[in-house]
């Protein structure tokens, strides 16, 4: 039972001025596990990804991957060690083709060369439904394709754990379903996933476990159905689908939790 978890966070503290986005956050993710993260805007979900991927430095606490302490590693190191991440707003290399975008990820992140790199790039493009636009400049893609490319590029680094930041945001239901299929297929290789999403439906269909974060604290962690049934979590979502109305209530909640009422500009 005492296996080292794949990813381990211990006592993570992160504050932006007076706004706290993590107050001693601690959880771990096992090899191959899929974890969803929900929470109100400004709860620190995206900042948490920043801390895991190395884009942000936590004020206190430890991040470990496979038992190895990551605190001193930069984001490029962490990617090569097996942490892949997508951004909520896709950031493709605009002047490069879709294929090249994925190819550099296979070169740099997965450490592949020559034929094996282009083979990986091609298979990732195929899985993510980008094969037909492989030679198009990434800057010319529409939103769905950009979201897919963001995912494809992260997959091409051959991550052991993939951090997905609202890949379904702004997409229609059928488009979200396609993305869910892509993620489910990618998981078959044994890759772990942490997925932040406002569209709870997408999460519940995909993840093994749900974590609810608010005000920099974990207020629920367990099976998706159990977490969504918890009274604290219910208070956040008020038993509604997390639409516009839900979001309003969530913000109400955070302002209660924090003495400082200022809006956190970081997460969303």
């Amino acid at each position: 039972m005492e296996n080292t978890p794949l990813l381990e966070l211990v006592g993570i503290v992160k504050r932006f001025n007076k706004v706290s986005v993590a107050e001693g956050l601690a959880f771990s993710v096992a090899e191959g596990e899929a974890v969803g993260i929900v929470g109100p805007n400004g709860a620190g979900k995206t900042s948490l990804f920043g801390v895991i991927s190395g884009e942000l430095r936590q004020d206190a606490g430890e991040v470990r991957l496979g038992g190895e302490l990551l605190n001193k590693r930069d984001s490029a190191d962490r990617c090569r060690m097996g942490i892949g991440r997508t951004h909520q707003i896709p950031r493709p290399f605009q002047q490069m083709t879709v294929f090249e975008n994925v190819l550099v990820a296979a070169h740099q992140g997965a450490g592949l060369k020559g034929r094996s790199a282009s083979d990986l790039a091609a298979s990732v493009l195929y899985e993510t439904g980008l094969y037909d636009v492989a030679n198009r400049l990434a800057g010319r893609l529409g939103l769905l394709h950009r979201k897919r490319l963001e995912l494809a590029r992260a997959l091409a680094t051959k991550p052991r754990i993939l951090l997905l930041d609202e890949v379904a945001g702004g997409l229609t239901d059928p488009e979200v379903n396609e993305l869910i299929t892509i993620v489910l297929n990618a998981r078959k290789t044994g890759m772990a996933v942490i997925w932040i999403e406002h569209a709870v439906r997408a999460l519940v269909e995909t993840v093994d476990r749900l974590i609810c974060i608010a005000g920099g604290l974990i207020i629920g962690d367990g099976k998706p159905a159990q977490v969504l049934a918890m009274s604290d979590v219910k208070e956040l979502f008020l038993g509604t689908e997390p639409g516009e109305e839900g979001a309003l209530h969530l913000e109400h909640y955070t302002s209660h939790r924090q003495s400082d009422n200022s809006e956190n500009r970081q997460g969303s």
């Binding site: 490029a76 290399f93 090249e100 070169h107 992140g109």
Partner: protein, 289 residues
């Protein structure tokens, strides 16, 4: 006939300006470093050749085989140790750092070699020429410099678009943070780009010291030509830089035909005119591609 002659000589002189501009274009395109020491680095390469040729007993024309690799290493180290730390404090700091480097190089050269001019003698290649007509002849060296300049641009362009290293340089130039998230060590990538830029500027310095003469203070003059070629061509576009350098070369030689004193001024006037009419340059681009 002298106008035709001037036009053709100008195209070949442009090759020298292109060599000066290629590295500037690359440094700016990849890491947005404006290197004010660029001209001085070229001159330093010329002086290194002046020192090394008698020691190594290599014909002057082949000295680039030794000097260029040395400048690749210097470029990588200067980027990692000098430019990189300054990038964090903003582009103005980097500009000041390169300006300081320029002053230091000029004064070290002055200390080591006095203000006298030096040049590299390359024998027949330097004096011989293709005679096209009785009034038009083109020196072997001019042809060589232009060919080297074109080859440099083509190789950099091919390298950027076709090779693994080139692709990651473009990715880092496009979005440094996103490139880090796919595992790219951007500092190393910057170092490589600087190494390539220094290699081209070393070639420029060697070409200059074969074509003409170098003095410790010659750098800034050629820095200006380099900048102008980059801006005329369009920032970040290497093909534009090639065109820009040739335009400047033609302006210089045609100006010289018009009046002996006009040769140095004409390229700058052409530059100003193009800047007024088409400030984005011939082939503007957002990033290297």
């Amino acid at each position: 006939m002298s106008w035709v002659n001037a036009l053709i000589q100008g195209i070949f002189l442009g090759g020298l300006f292109v060599l000066f501009a290629a590295g500037l274009s690359l440094l700016f395109g990849v890491m947005e470093v404006i290197n004010l020491a660029h001209g001085d680095i070229a001159v330093a390469a010329g002086y290194l050749a002046v020192v090394l040729i008698p020691i190594l007993h290599i014909p002057a024309i082949w000295i680039f085989i030794v000097v260029v690799p040395i400048f690749v290493v210097i470029g990588y180290l200067v980027q990692r140790l000098l430019f990189q730390p300054s990038l964090k404090s903003g582009s103005l700091t980097t500009l000041l750092v390169t300006f300081g480097l320029s002053v230091i190089i000029e004064n070290l050269l002055l200390e080591g070699f006095s203000a006298n001019s030096h040049s590299l003698s390359i024998g027949r290649l330097g004096s011989g020429a293709f005679r096209i007509t009785s009034q038009l002849s083109i020196s072997y060296l001019s042809v060589t410099i232009l060919l080297v300049a074109i080859a440099t641009i083509v190789l950099i362009q091919l390298g950027l678009s076709r090779t693994k290293t080139g692709r990651i340089i473009r990715a880092v130039a496009d979005d440094r943070e996103a490139a880090q998230l796919i595992g790219a060590d951007y500092k190393h990538v910057f170092g490589i780009a600087a190494g390539v830029a220094f290699a081209t500027v070393a070639l420029a310095g060697l070409a200059l010291s074969m074509y003409s003469q170098i003095t410790p203070s010659a750098g800034p003059t050629y820095l200006i030509y380099g900048f102008e070629a980059v801006v005329i061509g369009g920032l970040g576009s290497l093909w534009g830089t090639l065109a820009g350098g040739i335009v400047l070369g033609v302006a210089a030689t045609i100006g010289l035909v018009a009046s002996a004193n006009f040769g140095a001024l004409a390229p700058h006037l052409v530059f100003l005119a193009i800047l007024a009419i088409r400030p984005q340059g011939f082939f503007p681009k957002k990033a290297l591609a």
